[in-house]
Structure formats: structure tokens, C-alpha cells
């Protein structure tokens, strides 16, 4: 077997040799491998470790930090150990049902080849949910783009290509896109963020684990899906390095090629396999192929069960002949899954994939095929031709490795001055409010999400864009609802990476609450710069502390997550700290979903929460060129009380409509609620003067457009609504609804349709 020389080389020689072979492994890591094996590693082995020990697979600089996140609680059916986590939805007809959730990034590939990068992001996250044994029921896509105004810019190419890729893939496989967000910021010019979230539905007793089951020595390892090709070679390592423009061609080769058509059929065939196995009470192992390809997947499956494996690379269905063994072993060709099956059912499972669902006719050389078997000893062995090309202790390959990197103490973190107040300069509300509505972070996302199928499966209750969260009724015949929302504000990260992470959690929980759902749990995707840079790494450390703090205080555990580092270009431009959080909520009865459209004239409008003189990260401050204000600290006792109050008011039938307050503040939330009423009978808004809301303790601009408080609510029964607010909950009567299409604010009477035009048009140029 071809070996990669380590022994006898100087550090410099080794570094050069590694670079020439396209390896991201460091010199100390290469030496560690040679030392443990007692010989130079083979070419296949060195590529296997390159993938397996990349940040992408090993979380070597983040795993120990992630232990700080709360992962337990009564809502957790399965915590973050496998490809996806599971939350308790409820009991229905004697069965316990769970919502599966997975969250991932596909940032690097999307920056290089946006359409394919984003599409394969959706493809990968769907497989993570599928391989738990679940039916895939929804997806969401938090996106961060650079400045896309210039028609000839790469940023515009990325912003369009990503949306087209998500649309093409998600629509074809038939999974509704029910939530997501998008921010535009120059700090994403060189590194876009494409996060994807997928949800699944499963009965507790039907969960399939990503591990070779007990007693499975000698069982078959069955590879399912697309023929392995040369695409995606070095993908995991590619995700764990800084993007270099000169290497564009190599980078492109590392991007996988999506095939949603094949995936559509594989999903349906796999659902059929699930029922076959359930009818016979067979426990199998199942995992999707992602980073590290066949090697990564089979090694992790078998190692998790306490086994070893032998895989014969000659038995892998490949798209072209004579592929090098390391490419077959580690390449990240899409649309592949791997089963661990007892030998006596293998033939039936192959029949389902290959004959009943005719995979070989759907895509060239696609099929299900046996490629190896589970071994009782803990060695991981790959055969190719007549040779053993890899033979390593499996736990050395998949075991945890850790990089201890320097961090600045929390006290040294850069934060904006908490005492700094917004200084009210001159402004004209008649001009400012439409500008806020048209701001790139506020304006309507419809031109983007109209391209996504948000209603396939016929389960959609609140479609994308209508409310702060999407809602579906995924379990046929039951009244259960599942809500999904995402959050993570890059403007806040500028002010304070710790508080920004806390706000990401709080905002996602509030969004789910605003549609009437109980928050069940969270996922987090940590998108950061280069961990070798102490400032960027420190931001990651602070953000995880913030995520942990907020989730513990709000009682929402994390069941799954992902880390994406090295979001930095060679020029040193790093993205802002971007912890992105997704929250899953449950409704016992979708009849009690709160919808955001204002319902009728004459209702009272309330803001629930604590308005503060904190302009940090606020859109209005950016537009008035007075940035640098602080973020308001979060009072969790109040935040919890407000959430409980919303539920109580909903249960008492006192909420006609509601929205959580986000970008653009109270005024924008209300405007969007009023826009939602325009297609039927228009309901307008009359806001009273802010002095009357807060006794003048909070400035006018912060009152109208401040972003840190909780919810706006329309209620038909003022007295009852105020009566059930506990002492900890602050409710402010801020105005009333009126019977015409106007919006009165600060003495200015706006025409609602003109406001809507300002809000709905900006992205139409980018997404015509």
C-alpha cells in the first residue's frame, strides 16, 4: 500500500508534504498518527484521519465547550449524541410521539458554488433526520449574505444561487419550508452563512440509532444511494480551513453534487424499509453519509456500538472506474446512507431499494449494496484490490481529540458601554418609519420564500413569513401542532457576542411563544471565524456561555447542534460572531394557534415586556447613524413570566393576534400585523404617544423602534387582559386598532398600503 512518509522528516518537510497532498492535518497530528500506528500511515489512512480529525468531524476546539450547554429536561426524548435530537411532542392513541430536529451549516460550499452548496446542505440535513427512523416533515433556512446590491458582484451570485438551490432541492423532495430568516451585512461578503434545519416525526419506540446494535458482529454493512464519484473529496477538511481564492478549483471539487430526484425516491424507499423492519421487530443501525464519506460513516456506526469493521472498497458502486482508494473511502458524494443489517434480511432490503424503488434506473449506478461487515474486534479495516489499505484501531480514529486554544477572559470582552444613551438627534418620523420598514433586515422576505414550497404535505397551519414562527399539524388526525422559529441577529453581535447569543435563544423562544406554542427545545449552529485567532475563539467561548445561560434560565434544552469555524477569508475578513438558534414548539391543539393578522377595529393593543433605553444593534440607530449603543441586559425572571402570561392569556381566549418584537421594534411588528389584514378587511393602527406608555422614562424612538422587548398583542378584552398579568409582567397599553387602512404614529398618519409598498419592494430587485 502507498504510504505517506512521516517518520524521518523534519517539521518543515512534513508541513510541505501535507500541503502538497492537500491535507489539513497539522504536523503534530501527523506525528501522533505515525507514533500510534508504529509506522508511516498509508495514503488512505492519512486522508481518513484528515477528515475524521477535522474540526468538522471532531469538534476538537469546541466539544469541551459544548458540554456547558444544558441538554436535559422533561421534554428531551433524545439529547445530542447522534445526527439529530428528539423532543417529546405528546401522546396520541397510546403512542409517544417525538419531533426530531437537526441543524447544520453549509457555509463554505455555498460561498464557492452557491446553488449546489445550499442544495446539498438541505440534502444533508434531511438525511440526518431520516436516519433516526423519522418521516421528514419540515425544513427551515437561516441565511446570512453580504452586500448583494451590485448586480455583478459575487455576493449577488451567492444570494441568488443559495435561494435557488434551497428551492430546487426542498421543493423536489416534498418537504415544506416553514421558517427561516435572512440578514445582509458586509461582514458576510467573503463568507455567506447557509444554515439548514430539518424536523422529523417519530414514535418513541420506532427510533433507529446511528450505531451497530448489540450483538451485531458479523452483520452486513449496506451502502444505499448514489454511485460514489470524485465530488466532495476533502469536503470535511475543506470546511475546516480558511477559504483561499487561489484554490478556487480545488475548493469547487470539494463541493458535493445534489440530486434531489434520487433523494425523493430514496426517502420513499427508506420509509418502506422502516415499515418492513418494524413489522418484523428488527433493530438495525442507520446513519447518513456526510463528512468523511464511507469511512467516516461506517467507522462511527461501528465504533458507537463498540465494534470494528471491514469494508471492501471494491464492492462500492462507483461512477467511474479506477478511482483511488482514498477517494472512494473519504469522498463525500451526496445522497448516500448506510444500514447495519442482520444478514437474513439484507436480501429483502436490497430488493426494496433496487427493484421495488428501482434505484439503478433512477440514477446511473445508484443502488443498495453490501460493502462490508461488522467485526467483533475494534479494528477498522479497508480492503482495496488485493491489499489492506487501512488498518487502524477504530477508537483512535473516531475517538475524541481536543485542541486547547488560548482564550481571553470574559471580563476583557469588547462590549459597548452599557451607560451610553441614545442621543436624540433630529429626525422626521414621516420619513424614518418607511425607511425602517424598507431596511434590508426588516423588509418583506416574500420575494425569497415565495420560491419555496411551504405547503407540500398538506400539513401547514401557519406558512412561512406570516408570523414569527411557522406551524404545521404533522400527525394526521391529531390536533397536535409543531412550531419552528430561528433567530440570531448579527447586528447584536457587534454590540456584545455574549448577550447576542442570549438574545438568539430568547428571540427564538419568544417567536414560538407568539404563535401560541410551548417551547420544547433548541438547536444551535455556531458560525464563527478562525479558532486559532484568539479574538474569534474567545467570541465562540463567550457565545457558548451566553447560549448556555439563556437556555438554562428559560428551561429549553439543546438536543442537537453544529459548529462551523474558519468562516474567514485569506484577507482576514471574519464573519461577525453568529450563533444561530432554532426553537421547536408544541401546540396541543392547532385550533389554539395565534395568528398575527389584526382581527378587528376597536381592539386594544399592548406591548408585553420591558422597554429600555438601549439602542444597541437597533435598525433605527443604524439608519440615524448613531451605532455603538449597548444591548439591554436580559431579566430572565421577567422574560419567563411574560412567556407564561402569553400562554395564560391565550388559554383565556384573550389574544386576537400577536407577534414577537424583533427587527424594527413595536411599530414594525404592528405594521406587519396590519399588512396581514389587508387582503380581507383592513384593520389599521393608532399608537398613542410613548410618554403615556412608559411615563416618559423611555425615549420615543426606543419605544417605537427599540428591539429588546417581548410581544405585541391585540386583545378584545382590556380589563381581563390586564387583570391576569402578574406583578412580574409589565404590559403597556400602546394604542388601538381602527377601521381604516392607516397607521397613526407620533402625530403622523401613514397610509397602510404605502407603508406596505415600502416594506414589500426592496428585495424584489434581488429576487425578481
Amino acid at each position: 500500500m502507498r504510504s505517506f512518509r512521516v517518520q524521518g522528516l523534519t517539521d518543515d518537510e512534513l508541513r510541505r508534504a501535507a500541503a502538497a497532498a492537500g491535507l489539513a492535518l497539522r504536523v503534530d497530528e501527523l506525528r501522533r498518527i505515525a507514533e500510534r500506528l508504529g509506522r508511516d500511515p498509508s495514503m488512505v489512512e492519512v486522508h481518513a484521519f484528515d477528515a475524521q480529525w477535522s474540526e468538522h468531524c471532531s469538534y476538537k476546539s469546541s466539544r469541551h465547550l459544548l458540554r456547558k450547554l444544558p441538554t436535559e429536561g422533561p421534554t428531551v426524548m433524545q439529547g445530542p449524541a447522534e445526527d439529530a435530537g428528539i423532543l417529546h411532542l405528546g401522546e396520541w392513541q397510546g403512542e409517544k410521539w417525538g419531533v426530531v430536529i437537526a441543524h447544520e451549516s453549509h457555509n463554505h460550499p455555498s460561498q464557492v458554488v452557491p446553488f449546489e452548496g445550499a442544495a446539498t446542505g438541505v440534502g444533508g440535513i434531511v438525511r440526518d433526520v431520516l436516519c433516526m427512523g423519522a418521516e421528514v416533515i419540515a425544513i427551515a433556512d437561516p441565511l446570512r449574505f453580504g452586500r448583494a446590491e451590485d448586480p455583478d458582484s459575487h455576493q449577488r451570485y451567492v444570494a441568488r444561487g443559495v435561494v435557488d438551490g434551497i428551492s430546487a432541492y426542498g421543493n423536489a423532495i416534498g418537504v415544506p419550508n416553514i421558517a427561516g430568516d435572512v440578514y445582509f451585512d458586509e461582514r458576510f461578503d467573503d463568507n455567506c452563512l447557509v444554515n439548514v434545519v430539518a424536523l422529523g416525526l417519530i414514535k418513541e419506540r420506532d427510533i433507529i440509532h446511528s450505531a451497530a446494535p448489540p450483538g451485531s458482529a458479523g452483520w452486513d454493512i449496506v451502502l444505499v444511494g448514489k454511485a460514489t464519484d470524485t465530488s466532495g473529496f476533502g469536503g470535511a477538511a475543506f470546511s475546516s480551513v480558511t477559504l483561499d481564492e487561489e484554490d478556487e478549483d480545488a475548493n469547487k471539487g470539494a463541493v458535493q453534487v445534489p440530486d434531489p430526484f434520487l433523494k425523493n425516491v430514496i426517502m420513499r424507499a427508506t420509509y418502506r424499509v422502516f415499515s418492513y423492519l418494524r413489522e418484523r421487530n428488527i433493530t438495525a443501525g442507520f446513519k447518513d453519509l456526510g463528512a468523511g464519506g464511507i469511512m467516516g460513516c461506517t467507522a462511527e456506526l461501528c465504533a458507537s456500538g463498540g465494534f470494528g469493521a471491514i469494508v471492501d472498497l471494491d464492492d462500492v458502486n462507483t461512477a467511474i472506474k479506477n478511482m483511488p482508494p482514498e477517494v472512494i473511502a473519504v469522498g463525500e458524494t451526496q445522497e448516500r446512507l448506510c444500514w447495519i443489517l442482520p444478514g437474513d434480511v439484507t436480501a429483502d432490503i436490497l430488493q426494496i431499494y433496487n427493484q421495488e424503488f428501482s434505484l439503478p434506473e433512477i440514477a446511473r449506478s445508484a443502488c443498495a449494496t453490501v460493502i462490508g461487515c461488522v467485526q467483533g474486534d475494534k479494528q477498522y479495516v479497508l480492503r482495496h484490490g488485493d491489499e489492506i489499505v487501512m488498518d487502524v484501531p477504530i477508537e483512535f480514529l473516531t475517538g475524541s481529540i481536543r485542541d486547547d486554544l488560548p482564550v481571553r477572559p470574559m471580563s476583557e470582552r469588547k462590549v459597548t458601554d452599557p451607560a451610553r444613551r441614545y442621543v436624540g438627534g433630529s429626525y422626521d418620523l414621516a420619513e424614518l418609519f418607511p425607511r425602517i420598514l424598507g431596511h434590508r433586515d426588516v423588509c418583506s422576505r416574500e420575494p425569497l420564500y415565495v420560491r419555496y414550497d411551504g405547503v407540500v404535505r398538506g400539513t401547514t397551519v401557519v406558512p412561512r413569513g406570516n408570523a414569527s414562527a411557522g406551524v404545521i399539524a404533522p400527525l394526521a388526525g391529531s390536533p397536535f401542532g409543531v412550531a419552528l422559529a430561528v433567530a440570531g441577529n448579527p447586528r447584536y453581535s457587534k454590540a456584545d457576542p455574549f448577550l447576542a447569543a442570549e438574545y438568539a435563544v430568547l428571540e427564538s423562544v419568544r417567536k414560538v411563544t407568539s404563535v401560541g406554542a410551548r417551547a420544547l427545545g433548541l438547536t444551535d449552529c455556531l458560525n464563527f471565524g478562525n479558532p486559532q485567532n484568539v479574538d474569534h475563539y474567545s467570541e465562540l467561548v463567550y457565545a457558548i456561555d451566553g447560549l448556555a445561560m439563556a437556555a438554562s434560565r428559560l428551561g429549553t434544552p439543546y438536543v442537537s447542534g453544529n459548529v462551523s469555524l474558519y468562516n474567514e477569508s485569506r484577507g482576514g475578513n471574519a464573519i461577525p460572531a453568529s450563533p444561530i438558534v432554532a426553537c421547536v414548539g408544541a401546540l396541543d391543539d392547532v385550533a389554539r394557534t395565534i395568528t398575527p393578522a389584526l382581527k378587528r377595529a376597536g381592539s386594544a393593543l399592548y406591548a408585553v415586556g420591558t422597554p429600555q433605553n438601549a439602542s444597541g444593534g437597533a435598525v433605527f440607530a443604524e439608519l440615524l447613524e448613531q451605532t455603538g449603543g449597548p444591548l439591554a441586559p436580559i431579566d430572565y425572571d421577567r422574560a419567563n413570566a411574560e412567556i407564561a402570561f402569553l400562554h395564560a392569556a391565550r388559554d383565556a381566549g384573550l389574544i386576537l393576534s400577536s407577534r414577537s418584537i424583533g427587527n424594527g421594534g413595536v411599530a414594525v411588528a404592528l405594521a406587519e400585523m396590519a399588512f396581514s389584514s389587508l387582503h380581507a378587511s383592513p384593520v389599521g393602527v393608532r399608537l398613542s404617544q410613548p410618554e403615556s406608555w412608559t411615563d416618559g422614562t423611555v425615549g420615543d424612538l426606543e419605544s417605537y423602534f427599540g428591539e429588546c422587548w417581548g410581544f405585541v398583542v391585540e386583545t378584545g378584552d382590556r380589563r381581563a387582559f390586564e387583570a391576569i398579568a402578574s406583578e412580574e409582567v409589565r404590559v403597556f397599553r400602546i394604542g388601538e386598532t381602527i377601521a381604516n387602512a392607516t397607521f397613526a404614529l407620533g402625530g403622523v398618519q401613514f397610509n397602510l398600503r404605502m407603508l406596505r409598498a415600502a416594506w414589500s419592494s426592496p428585495l424584489a430587485e434581488l429576487y425578481p
Binding site: A172, F261, N264, Q355, E361, V450, V455, R457, G458, P479
Partner: protein, 255 residues
């Protein structure tokens, strides 16, 4: 419950079979999902529903390749013998490509197609209303609908614009093939109500004999009250909504 057996056809790439099957069952039909590898069982069924999706990944033009799938041999034969055939979205595209609808030309030589949306050629997901534009008796599947009925539905397609030569469009109008047009919630009709620049504002067509119906929007995605954007508090959320009216009419035709 009707004794008629209904097959919901799944081609490679179909993606809406489950909700279509659920709504068929909820209106009392004996419906079964039939995959392509079981095509030979199709003659046993009394009616066929072709659901939405991207059969054969919309190669060439949506519906063009599946129109030549062996499953369509059975559907064409059934249609010619008077069986009811109901195509939704991708199913409708397949029926046009197969020449079953409007059925004014030879088989598999379409005289009209649902093709790339206008004015901008991208996928559109939008809530719409389909206004019943023909005489109820004209098509068996719509026979139980009231005149001018409004069916709520979701348009969710990239290729839903009816396109044909002026001569063939005239044939469609004169022959009474135009079954549904896009409308607003109040029943009014204007260009803005049509999500895809479809000729004649067409949302659905039938064949000469009235036993085959092809509609682009998905009424089964506004099939239960919880789906409906303007549902009222107090409605039974799990009960069929306006989109089910058309399925109920289909079930009556099979009773």
C-alpha cells in the same frame, strides 16, 4: 363510502401522494397509493388520481417524460373506457403532455402545455382561489359543484402557465374545456389573481368527454380547516375545508 377503488399514482419524483391520499380517504373514497413498480395492478382500479411532484425531475418539460411512463398506458386506456382521471399540478402537466387534456389532438402530441411561469420564470408558492368556470355537468368530476364555486387552493409550481397557439386556445374556449380560472377571495377576476401569467387565467381544464380533469393548484393543501388562511376561531380545525369541495364532488361521481 364509495365501493369504487381509486389509485393514487406515484411516478419517480412524485411528492404529494400522502396528502392527496389522505383527503381522498377523508371524503369517503377507497384510495390506494400505487408505485410505478406496481403499474400492472392499475387496471383493477376504477379511477386514477395523479398527484403533484416532479416526476422524472421535470426533464425536458414538466410532465413530458412521465407521459411516456408505462403507468400512463393504463391511465390512457382507462380514460378511453370512461374511467375518471384527476390530475393535480404535476399530475395535470402529465395529463396535458399525454394528450388526454384538452384531448383535441393525438395522444402524446400535446396541443397545449402547462409550462414555465410568467412573467418571471421561477417557482411560485401562493394561496389562490380557483373559480369554477364551466357548466357543472360538463365534467363528471366537478358535477356536484355549484356554478361559480370558489375553491381555495395553493399554487406551488414553476411551470403552470397554460400555453398554446391562438387556434388551440380558441378550441379550448369553444369546446368548453376551460374548467377553472384563477380568482380573488371575493370571486373577482383580474390579472393579479393569476400567479403565473397562465393563458385565459386558466387553472384547470377538462377533456371533450368530461371524464378527465387537470388542475394546476393544490386544493388538497387547503384540504382541512387548519390549512385555510382565513379560518375562523371555533371551526373544527380537523374538518375538511373549501379545498375538499372538489374532492367531495369527485367522490360523488364515483358513488
Amino acid at each position: 363510502m364509495s365501493t369504487a377503488k381509486v389509485a393514487i399514482l406515484v411516478f419517480p419524483g412524485t411528492n404529494s401522494e400522502v396528502e392527496t391520499w389522505r383527503l381522498c380517504c377523508d371524503v369517503g373514497l377507497d384510495a390506494h397509493v400505487v408505485h410505478w413498480s406496481h403499474a400492472a395492478t392499475l387496471p383493477r382500479y376504477d379511477a386514477y388520481v395523479l398527484p403533484g411532484g416532479f416526476a422524472y425531475e421535470d426533464r425536458i418539460r414538466a410532465g413530458a417524460v412521465p407521459a411516456h411512463d408505462p403507468m400512463m398506458d393504463y391511465v390512457i386506456e382507462g380514460a378511453q373506457r370512461g374511467k375518471l382521471v384527476f390530475g393535480i399540478c404535476n399530475g395535470a402537466q402529465i395529463l396535458l403532455e399525454a394528450g388526454l387534456v384538452p384531448g383535441t389532438g393525438p395522444l402524446r402530441r400535446p396541443t397545449a402545455a402547462f409550462t414555465r411561469n410568467g412573467p418571471v420564470p421561477h417557482f411560485v408558492c401562493r394561496h389562490v382561489y380557483m373559480k369554477f368556470a364551466s357548466d357543472p355537468a360538463r365534467c363528471a368530476i366537478t358535477a356536484a359543484l355549484e356554478r361559480d364555486a370558489l375553491i381555495p387552493a395553493w399554487a406551488a409550481h414553476g411551470e403552470g402557465r397554460l400555453a398554446a397557439t391562438a387556434e388551440h386556445l380558441r378550441e379550448i374556449v369553444d369546446g368548453g374545456h376551460l374548467t377553472f380560472v384563477y380568482a380573488r377571495a371575493d370571486g373577482s377576476i383580474d390579472d393579479g389573481a393569476t400567479p403565473n401569467a397562465s393563458a385565459l387565467g386558466c387553472a384547470g381544464l377538462t377533456n371533450r368527454e368530461g371524464n378527465v380533469l387537470a388542475i394546476m393548484p393544490h386544493p388538497e393543501r387547503d384540504g382541512w380547516n387548519y390549512n385555510h388562511p382565513d379560518r375562523k376561531t371555533g371551526d373544527n380545525m380537523l374538518a375538511p375545508s373549501g379545498g375538499a369541495l372538489l374532492f367531495q364532488s369527485f367522490a360523488k361521481a364515483l358513488a
